[in-house]
């Protein structure tokens, strides 16, 4: 077990790698979602408006 504090604002090697792992899994999900909305588009289902532009932070 290590107790040395990680440097300030350094993502750390572990934090870096885990992001890559999540990226692989979730990048896929985003891609699937994007193509899914395209497929829905063919059937005339419009994607929802870009929510971040008008949503207020809860």
């Amino acid at each position: 077990m290590h107790f040395a504090p990680l440097p300030y604002l350094d993502p750390g090697s572990g934090s870096f790698l885990i992001q890559l792992l999540i990226a692989v899994l979730l990048g896929l999900a985003v891609a699937v979602r994007a193509s899914w909305s395209k497929i829905k588009g063919w059937f005339g289902i419009k994607p929802k408006a870009d929510e971040d532009d008008d949503e207020s932070s809860e």
Binding site: M1, H2, A4, P5, L6, Y8, L9, P11, G12, S13, G14, S15, F16, L17, I18, Q19, L20, L21, I22, A23, V24, L25, L26, G27, A29, V30, A31, D52, D53, E55, S56, S57, E58
Partner: protein, 463 residues
Amino acid sequence: MMTNQVNSGQLAASFRDPSGFLFSRGGVLYRQVNRKYEQEYMLLMESGLYEKLVKAGLLIPHVEVDPLPVGGEMAFRVIQPERVPFISYPYEWSFGQLKDAALATLSIQRRALKAGMSLKDASAYNIQFVRGKAMLIDTLSFEIYKEGQPWVAYRQFCQHFLAPLALMALKDIRLNQLLRVYIDGVPLDLASQLLPWTTRFNFGLLTNIHLHASAQKKYAGEEVKSRGGATFGRQAMTGLIDSLDATVRKLNWNPGGTEWGNYYDITNYSDAAFEHKKQLVDEWVKRVNPALAWDLGANNGIFSRVASSNGSFVVAFDIDPAAVEQNYRQAKGEKTENLLPLLLDLTNPSPSLGWANRERDSFGSRGPANLVLALAVIHHLAISNNVPLPQLADFFAETGKWLVVEFVPKSDSQVRKLLASREDIFPNYTREGFEAAFKKRFTIHHAADVHESERVLYLMEGK
């Protein structure tokens, strides 16, 4: 505000950041933007990101100050941010407050990415509640987004927000107090050990906490070179932020089952007594007209609202996480802008914390308030916590100029309950003893017997 200051008015909470620093001049708070941060600052202002964030209530508004009050070679600009009426810390927030701060941080990061920027830190201490909303107060938190780079603040987000929220929701609500010990957030290996084993079936917690903790341990100190395909594209970044957002949203905690959650249902108050108390508080708040009022032992904020509806900014402190949560939800629902519910144990209030004990201010140094409400708390402090009355008077005299305080005599059924299981070692705990102790530090302007009760309400002014 008696905030911790180092040389030349520079505030100790912002010393780490090379982009700039906070300082105060003549009671006004400024933030210097260093030359080093020119490019980032200009992109924030010119890309429309600043405007969007301010409009959405996610970033503290500021004005640029000209001429520079300090100048110096390092200075690029000096900005004056809107004053935060009361600085609070994550270990003083209820579950809902920490969750809203987490969601605000992610929402800011999403908008920043669209503008070609990214948050370089995700510290819970950069969020404050202003006009009832969780808002980023560090205007210099943005860096220019370089596609392919992972989120530099990811670990900090997990430690400051995700880990404590998961522990509070899934293990024990009181574990938010770990934030008081670990100033840079809950270490992920600790969170991983404390969380129920079943959280490994939750994808977000499995990856962002459990696997994250294992990876930190396994790759500690190793140099990671990004190889050919191992870059972190924009889509990956969006996926990560969405995943964190979904994981945070799914964490929930509902008040109830704690000590005071249903306090007003179990008091010995009649409706008439309650109404009379409210009416007295209202009358005296109008008379004192305080800018800043602290309600100590506020429960879910009934009396805090009497003060806030008169225009005061009220900080409503209570020891019970359920009461604070209820209070926060109500304030949020009603869009109350001048009421801030916070968690505080009056018998052990927030200390000064951090580097040289100067980064986070203690409870006392964030005062004094213009008015302190201490309703139905004296008996808890004097009898349950054994604080002698003269010391209580000293404490309240240091905490606020004016005091509305309720004396609850021994004959009161609540006090009898407190004394039922212990020896009565409080011979001076009488109305006379109370008044004698408080007269040393206060002038008593009013003493009113609360209708249909044995309690007395006082309006006092500090000497």
